[in-house]
Symmetry: C2
Subunit: 340 residues, 2 copies
């Protein structure tokens, strides 16, 4: 009838052994007589024992948890919108699923201001979590460097803008863009243009150069470029600019799906049928691509797999702290749909 949750002590008493022995069994340490092991296991079941995290953490000096930190721009309105980005959702899902196999749950942190970043860093150094999985939407995010500097084990989604000694996962953006170029060309499109992400972001640059180089291999040089910002509105504006300069274009590669959607909307407004008059291809293959009209041909990033790999990389690093930073690059795939 006691409300107290059972402790090691209780199990030990029930099994007629010492706390140390129970601890060994619970933690799967060898050198315990099989007979005793059995007795202890029975006692654990009988008492309904389950180890206390806090006590364990205190003794081992490990939190046994990792932080999932979202480092946004901090423009207030955007702050909570970061989470609403389906892209983040896919990452979170992949991470949760992967971490769960190890029985650990991520702690959600938001690093959207300098103060918040300091708090996150302080917490991590103090050991609130053993390491961090970082999703940065901020171009010049100082957090990766801060974490690396503080020696906090961390893994990024996407290569940092400035080289930092830190692990990360990334899709091969260059190859993905080439896939898009080849696909448009294979569809017989020749007057191509592209809508890029914000300049200065590695992802944008890689997709642009990948696209350009693939076209160059086919003798196409000087492709029209308009800069977007990865939002639908940005895509619309860029498409307008492109159309004004090159009314005869017949194929567009947008550096992400949202901008592709914006481009399609503008094209339709200007009487261009997609894909009959103009073919459009995006990048990501998130929910927007699958529900847009027409369904969007796109370059798929295996986001969930990448997120799972982030978790794996971090856990590996935690298990063997000497492991040097590692990066894993994933292959993109072409998903042909109705927009090309």
């Amino acid at each position: 009838m006691s409300e107290r949750t059972p402790t090691l002590e209780d199990v030990a008493r029930a099994a007629g052994v010492s706390r140390a022995t129970v601890s060994r069994v619970v933690n799967g340490i060898r050198n315990v007589d099989p007979q005793i092991q059995e007795r202890v296991r029975a006692a654990v079941a009988a008492t309904g024992y389950s180890p206390n995290r806090a006590a364990r953490s205190l003794a081992t000096r490990r939190a046994n948890s990792v932080a999932l930190v979202v480092s946004g721009p901090g423009e207030d309105a955007c702050t909570s919108r970061v989470f609403a980005d389906p892209f983040f959702g896919r990452i979170a899902g992949g991470i949760v699923l992967s971490l769960r196999r190890e029985g650990i749950h991520p702690v959600l942190m938001l690093a959207d201001t300098d103060e918040a970043r300091d708090d996150v860093l302080t917490g991590l150094r103090r050991g609130d979590a053993d390491g961090a999985l970082l999703v940065s939407t901020h171009v010049h995010d100082p957090l990766p460097a801060m974490l690396a500097g503080a020696g906090v084990p961390a893994v990024l989604f996407s290569r940092p803008v400035r080289p930092v000694e830190i692990s990360y996962v990334e899709v091969d953006n260059h190859a993905g863009a080439a896939l898009a170029a080849d696909h448009l060309l294979a569809r017989g499109r020749e007057r191509l243009a592209t809508i890029t992400g914000p300049a200065g972001v590695p992802v944008s640059q890689d997709r642009l150069t990948g696209f350009r180089e693939a076209l160059a291999r086919h003798g196409l040089h000087r492709v029209p470029v308009a800069e977007g910002d990865f939002t639908q509105d940005g895509g619309e504006a860029a498409m307008l600019a492109l159309l004004a300069e090159h009314p005869g274009l017949d194929g567009v590669f947008a550096a992400n799906d949202l901008m592709a959607q914006g481009a399609i909307a503008v094209l339709r407004d200007h009487g261009r049928a997609v894909p009959d008059d103009v073919a459009v291809i995006g990048f990501d293959d998130g929910a927007p691509a699958q529900s847009s009209r027409p369904r969007l041909t796109t370059i798929r990033q295996p986001v969930e797999d990448m997120a799972a790999e982030m978790a794996t990389l971090l856990l590996t690093r935690l298990a063997a702290p000497a492991t040097p930073p590692t990066s894993v690059i994933f292959a993109p795939t072409l998903i042909p749909r109705a927009s090309t």
Copy 2:
């Protein structure tokens, strides 16, 4: 040069007082001489002290953290998609922001299978987290009842299907639907129809009866109804059915934005201009509503505020465990855009 993080003991020594006094100052407990308080504060700053969570939890028997549990259907593919739902993202954002003021970060848990639910419950009972914020996408989710039964403090987003003694926040769905009805009528639409969410879900039912009753007040009875499932595809199918039966309709209320988008796509495919021929209004006001073409008129749920309230309710309950379950209902607002 020591790598050890400073402890209370270190601060106490530096300030020339006892651990207890430092603890009091750190925890803002009165009855400490202002002079000494000052000395302690200085020592804290000098040593760079920051309290150890595990030790504190062990001593207070409180984890000082809350769980954010997502209880999905467990159909594997859907599992990680739960997170990709922008709706969940908005909730998560609101919760993180609200919790942060208290210096606490939510622990993300996924309860998508019976086993996972048991694990979550076990962890919560053991005190891994002091309480739970539950977002359930599962219609007949057993978790709310499990939590209530185990006496775990919890707050739900949305009223549970079966009445359970548990706190929750909810938008006034009935009133929201009435807003939609009144708006369509005010726009001069008279041949109305509605696309509902899955039958059996309180949200669906409330929105349907709210819509019906508002129309009835204006003398309109027997409005055509088609059941959807809150997805865009479901909305498309429902719209097709509606159009087949009632080709002359001039206004549609979809129980959420995604279905409204599906409806718009189908209407366009069938040569109906929106809003000229048919006005469409949705519910939620998430990202889809703001980026669809035409921009979607919708009923806004203040999701972020609701999420923040969830956190507040839980923290209140944790501070005063005797507090009975409370529910807070939020007012929806009409957001007129281009689709009506």
